[in-house]
Amino acid sequence: MEGVAMKLPSFKTLSPTPISVASTFSIRRSFSFARRSSSLSAATITADSEPVSLGHRARKDFRILHQEVNGSKLVYLDSAATSQKPAAVLEALQTYYEFYNSNVHRGIHYLSAKATDEFELARKKVARFINASDSREIVFTRNATEAINLVAYSWGLSNLKPGDEVILTVAEHHSCIVPWQIVSQKTGAVLKFVTLNEDETPDIDMLREMISEKTKLVAVHHVSNVLASSLPIEEIVVWAHEVGAKVLVDACQSVPHMVVDVQKLNADFLVASSHKMCGPTGIGFLYGKSDLLLAMPPFLGGGEMISDVFLDHSTYAEPPSRFEAGTPAIGEAIALGAACDYLSDIGMPKIHEYEVELAKYLYETLASVPDVRIYGPRPSESVQRAALCSFNVEGLHPTDLATFLDQQHGVAIRSGHHCAQPLHRYLGVNASARASLYFYNTKEDVDSFIVALADTVSFFNSFK
């Protein structure tokens, strides 16, 4: 019994109250193992005596995982690039378009009121997901990259002066390097980069020393998409605030995989992408503290973000609308809300716990393959790695590796620089291969990967 996107019966008339539409579908939903945790636990009870792992249970909600590619079962190990979407999220998107698609914030009529409600509800869900105190601190963007650009152009251009310093690490994703390069060129600010220590993690001591009165912004990742290491954001925020600097957290690889509490972290800005957390592409968000957003000038201009428009000037709306010009990705935002629900139903602590175990298993089995070099820190008591491994095999180009794995074994990994060219340059390699997991992967997936990897290595070795 797999959770598939079911074709909903066509309703000719919509019931007057918004809630009833949802309740009509809830009956169907409980049959798909997707949403309610109660149904999940029901599955466990009726299963065999052996406890079924989260991965096995969750897989049922992801139809895309049950296919063959190139004659082998698909083993999807590229969730750090983009995650797969459960049936519930797809349903939410479909439902929006089928039943209440309408432009938001503008109309008076029933459909548009409903769409607006659901859109704003999604905003609240995202706020709740990261424990923001107010949903007005969530700005919907196209993705995390756009969110960072928003901060760079809006906050950066009006706050950075010549000689001001922005601290980054060499391990940042391009989206958290390039916008700062552009803005620093325009403002005369200086970029400083924290390098790695011998554990192949960004050097925290170096970071601490770099922070000075000249520092205006520290923009760093929470979890690295290559090294699998995490940064102690809470401490970094304390150090930064001591000198009056702001902190922007790139949480693309953390929000989908663990509890992220922006109030606890006390970060000034935080960005994430929907498509990495079981949501659709085309939507992401910026979290910004209210007082910061209030002081920021607009990023893009147009409808929605204005208050009054005259020919020679306009006045602007309050945040978050101020930063949401034009018609938003309404369906996508609602589907992102559904993704937040889906993940919360399982429970982020549970997901994280499962992934920590899987991460260890991946690292250990991968490290046991001869000639494999994994980047990033070794997992230990004090160091927890994310469930991904970027690696190289001695004498084998990652592209060859990934191609063969895909062609002969149906294993999908990524090869390249993973949008972290400076990091690869720092590590002294052109490219690396990367296998990344999510809660719908299982131990068997890792086993299949390792077997396939061994076969690949021996194939290419026979040609040496």
Binding site: N70, F404, D406, R414
Partner: protein, 349 residues
Amino acid sequence: MAASISSSCCVSSLRLIPFKRTFFSSVNPPSKNLILRPIPSFLRTIVTFQKIPTGIVSPLPASSSPSSSVDLQPIEELPPKLQEIVKLFQSVQEPKAKYEQLLFYGKNLKPLDSRFKTRENKVEGCVSQVWVRAFFDEERNVVYEADSDSVLTKGLAALLVNGLSGRPVTEILRVTPDFAVLLGLQQSLTPSRNNGFLNMLKLMQKKALSLEVKAEEGTSESTTDEASVVEVDLESKPPSVVEVEESESVSNVVALGSRGMRIREKLEKELNPVELEVEDVSYQHAGHAAVRGSAGADGETHFNLRVVSDAFQGKSLVKRHRMVYDLLQEELQSGLHALSIVAKTPAEV
């Protein structure tokens, strides 16, 4: 159904059609029997297939469009060695064996000296690094050398090198990427920058063309019975990769500037041509170093000339070109960088 590698990182992608799906299931039984013979080692496979004369492998009927309705370039239009390679790959059905064949080619590829691993020789759009070098042999056939740090890409490069090396420019330019489909290596043929294989072929063709253009301009450096080599102060700085558009036949009509007008006048006056075409193609070369540094940087640096005149009667090609250059000496010394000349007599047209 196989998901393509996302374009956020460029990849030289290589796909194989799984055995069941291949449209060469219509291949005659003799080849099939060949495949089913137990093959003890990888190397043996390769050696076996190399011994097969092309007679056994049934040649594809001309312009066969099997399952797809796409019209592929007929195999006969390919250079002979490339045809052989295509047929060889067609005879190898099993995907893994195709890989082995590919790797074997790559292994036997002559290594490229590191001094040729320059930016100009690098193939764009590959995460793996690929370099291609091209030069003329004595008979003005193009010789290629290539290298890559990825063995699969090296295999593909070797395919192209083996298939295209030693052939004249026109033949090389005629090759379309269609043959990649015939190989059964399901190379994505979308001309995006992510396509390493396509870009390799394009670069090789571009280099072949630029060799030809250079040779036309500077007249042949080869020792012919024309003892006198025209001394033209053209390539004082060697041009970098010629920025030729994909379809070389595209001619953007550019109004002639002052130099273009002067050239036209001079040639008309001195050669009394029946036909005269002066085309300013400087924009195609706007990138490379010589243009940027040229004095008299009015941007008019490269021209295509087509002259039909009785004045060329009885003169060799070299002598005709020399005549034109002599007439345009002044321009050549004041910023005109290169000419591509077609010089004919009225009878030859």
